[in-house]
């Protein structure tokens, strides 16, 4: 080979390298990345596949245990192949609006991640990834597909929605969702976590003010004896007596409070013990009186049995005559 010929070949090679991205897109696809053991089987020929290689219909890409490849198709779609995969471009036709679009590829083993191009947008019904047990169609644009050692197909959506079909039917898979295809006779099973928001909680049952006694009356109220009138000093002449207490002091026995709902159970003669012994504090006891009744020695009479008692504080002195 003369030096002229060498120059000529070198120049042609450089020229081709400079314009390969443009010429490459004339094929179905172009290998934009390859790492590890990646091979191309075209007919009976098996050759190493490297960056810049073109793919056409019928080509088979095989990746080894460390092999990876990324293919850019002429419609802008991308396919990333993972190790131990066998990928076939079964039928590819980029109609570009003038003819029919077809994107049919087979994944026999391994895994692939795909981002659809214009074919998937123009004619989604003709975009299919065929596996031994399922056919993945698309209504969206990005998905991951993997076949495990048992032949089960795992498909997850990454953008928009895809459709995974078996002979039993199809299910939709949106971004963040995933399905497992166990066999071609069963519907794909959703595998992603499905979170729920709990229903609102019922109010806490131990709210002090909600407690009722066994007779069904509100608040388990202790009512202490009404304050005894204090003779001195006399009440002012102009001051009318204050309005009566909204809950009149009860009789000594356990009759219901006025206005309270009827008790569902018979009124016990003696109130059952509260859940916790309670006693009014000394500071809230009625003031000592000079007339009967004498102040209780231990605790005032109990009308209602509280869990959390409330006592009626005597009105401020000087009290008017009290209704008893």
């Amino acid at each position: 080979m003369t030096s002229d010929q060498k120059y000529a070949r070198l120049a042609l090679l450089m020229g081709m390298v400079a314009v390969w991205p443009l010429t490459g897109l004339a094929a179905a696809g172009l290998v934009q990345f390859a790492a590890g053991d990646v091979q191309l089987r075209r007919g009976e020929t098996l050759s190493r596949l490297s960056k810049g290689a073109e793919l056409d219909g019928g080509d088979v890409v095989l990746t080894g245990t460390e092999g990876r490849a990324q293919i850019r198709f002429s419609d802008g779609g991308l396919v990333a192949l993972y190790p131990d995969s066998q990928f076939t471009v079964t039928r590819y036709a980029d109609g570009a609006g003038a003819g029919e679009d077809h994107f049919v590829v087979n994944l026999l083993r391994g895994g692939m991640r795909a981002l659809t191009g214009l074919i998937g947008k123009r004619n989604p019904a003709n975009y299919k990834v065929v596996t031994p047990t399922a056919v993945v169609g698309i209504r969206g644009s990005a998905f991951l597909l993997a076949i495990d050692a048992n032949g089960q197909v795992f498909v997850s959506g990454e953008q928009d929605e895809i459709e995974v079909c078996t002979q039993a039917g199809c299910v939709g898979v949106t971004a963040g969702e995933a399905v497992l295809v166990v066999s071609d006779q069963d519907l794909p099973v959703y595998t992603h976590t499905r979170a729920l928001l709990p229903v609102p909680q019922v109010q806490t049952p131990l709210l002090a003010g909600d407690q009722l006694d066994v007779q069904g009356r509100r608040a388990f109220v202790y009512i202490v004896p009404a304050p005894v009138p204090v003779p001195v000093p006399p009440p002012p002449e102009t001051a009318p007596p204050p309005a009566p207490v909204p809950v009149p002091p009860p009789p000594p026995t356990g009759t219901p409070q006025p206005g309270t709902p009827a008790p569902p159970a018979p009124t016990p003669t003696t109130p059952p013990p509260p859940t916790r012994p309670t006693a009014p504090p000394v500071t809230t006891a009625p003031p000592p009186a000079t007339t009967a009744p004498p102040p209780p020695t231990v605790r005032p009479p109990i009308v209602f049995i509280p869990v959390l008692p409330i006592i009626l504080r005597p009105p401020p002195p000087p009290p008017p005559p009290v209704i008893r």
Binding site: Y7, A8, L10, A11, M14, G15, A18, Q32, F33, K51, R68, Q70, R72, L78, A80, R113, A142, L144, E158, Q159, A168, V171, G172, T174, A175, E177, L180, D186, V189, Y190, H192, T193, A195, L196, P200, P205, L206, L207, A208, G209, L212, D213, V214, G216, V221, A243, V245, P246, G259, T260, P261, R276, T284, P306, L308, P309, I310, I311, L312, R313
Partner: protein, 445 residues
């Protein structure tokens, strides 16, 4: 002859031009990456992505380009493209921790848990824990194990905690209460009826599971038990709660329907205080794996064995929207309404109508830390004038909670939490505030 002349005189110039063009392209390429990175930093990620996308076929495999492409695509929300770019970057530099973490972030963004779990453990440790990102037990829960792969599964947890409760009995804080009726004496509460604070320890355990019948049908169930023991004078408010659900779930496409039977038992200081039983129907519409609407109808009989007049039938409907963001954050909001109808005749004042709002969210702070917050508001108007206080009870209850999740290692979680409840009620005895601070340690299995 002509070919020889052409090749000798013309082609060398072509070669020079080609090389020159190539060098120029290389220079421009570096400039391209720098320009794209600058755009990403300026928040114009989509523009950077488009800039790099045009050159990807030529420059894929160049680590600098792929790193920039990954950053731009991820920031622009093109997560699949980011994954492809970062996989190339990692293939060129297998030991590059930065590339591994970046790839993990993009895999998480598309919910590719398998891909994340395939990354080395140190890389996973540098990412937001997958479990924390996708099972938000503070707000959301799931019947499914993440690793179940759509098969039947059972998962459980045990939780121990300590805390301080400012108002263990949800009682008024103020002992001197003005009567709602003018001119009548004020009330004074005995100490037992006042807000009682105390420290407590709590133990809780739970199980959730799903038995898959086929691709559409499954049986779901939950069992949770909790016991809280207070120290000091608040120990009379020790309580135990048991809750269980068992239901049937049906799913088709975006819809999932779950009908569950519910049962609940609540004991106060060793004595049964309340039991509940009813039916819960849920309809979940999943827009995708990250967004969903959930609606429910609940009919629940609430029974107080020793306070039969309080027995009510609770009927509530509601809807909510929850969103899991690609960075692992989550948020939800919802509204609900219904009533609690007293079962006894003449006890309308013990039943009420209610409606409420709720919202919350969780945000990752660091790979092992996240913060969460929630706010609930509920309005209750009771069915009649209270016979004792001569007013119609109306409650406006607000509750806020704020907490942290720390995941020191997979399966473990430490949660310090503070919550505040304010129930503004027209009845003085049901008007209260409550503050609870707790730290819980949870082990999931």
């Amino acid at each position: 002859m002509y070919l020889r002349i052409w090749s000798r005189r013309v082609l060398p110039w072509c070669a020079v031009l080609a090389w020159g063009g190539g060098l120029s392209c290389a220079a421009r390429a570096d400039e391209l990456v720098q320009q794209a990175l600058a755009l990403v930093q300026q928040g114009q990620a989509l523009q950077a992505f488009r800039l790099l996308d045009a050159q990807e076929a030529q420059r894929a495999g160049d680590p600098a380009f792929d790193a920039a492409m990954g950053d731009a695509a991820h920031a622009a929300g093109q997560y699949t493209r980011a994954i492809m770019a970062r996989e190339r970057w990692l293939a060129a530099q297998p030991g590059n921790m930065e590339a591994q973490v970046a790839l993990g972030q993009s895999l998480q963004a598309v919910g590719d848990r398998r891909g994340v779990m395939a990354l080395p453990a140190p890389v996973q440790a540098a990412l937001i824990p997958v479990d924390a990102g996708h099972t938000l037990d503070q707000f959301l829960y799931s019947y499914d194990r993440l690793d179940a792969g759509g098969r039947s599964s059972l998962k459980g947890y045990v939780e121990l905690g300590v805390g301080h409760d400012s108002n263990a009995n949800a009682a008024p804080v103020v002992g001197d209460l003005q009567s709602p009726v003018p001119g009548t004496p004020a009330w004074a509460l005995l100490p037992e009826a006042l807000a009682t604070s105390g420290n407590y320890v709590v133990a809780q355990a739970g199980l959730r599971g799903r038995a898959v019948l086929n691709a559409r049908w499954s049986v779901v169930g939950t069992a949770v038990g909790a016991a809280r023991h207070y120290g000091g004078g608040a120990d009379r408010f020790d309580h135990t709660a048991l809750d269980g659900t068992l239901g049937l779930a049906w799913r088709a496409e975006r819809h999932e329907l779950i009908v569950s039977g519910q049962g609940s038992y609540y004991a106060l200081d060793g004595t049964r205080l309340r039991t509940m039983g009813g039916v819960l129907g849920e309809w979940i519409y999943r827009i995708d794996g990250f967004r969903q609407w959930g609606s429910f109808v609940q009919v629940l009989d609430v029974r107080y064995p020793d306070q039969a007049l309080r027995n009510v039938r609770r009927s509530v409907v509601g809807t909510s929207y929850s969103h899991l963001f690609r960075n692992g954050s989550s948020a939800y909001g919802g509204v609900y309404g219904g009533q609690e109808r007293a079962q006894a005749s003449g006890a309308d004042a013990l039943g009420h109508r209610l409606w409420g709002l709720r919202a919350g969210g969780q945000w990752p702070l660091a790979p092992q830390w996240s913060v969460f917050a929630s706010a609930d508001w509920e309005h209750r108007r009771y069915g009649g004038q209270d016979p004792f206080f001569a007013v119609t009870r109306t409650d406006r209850q607000a509750q806020v909670a704020l907490g942290l999740n720390w995941t020191p290692s997979p399966g473990w979680r430490v949660t310090p939490q503070w919550s505040f409840t304010r129930n503004a009620s027209t009845l003085p005895i049901t008007d209260y505030e409550r503050r609870v601070f707790s730290i819980t340690v949870r082990r999931e299995f």
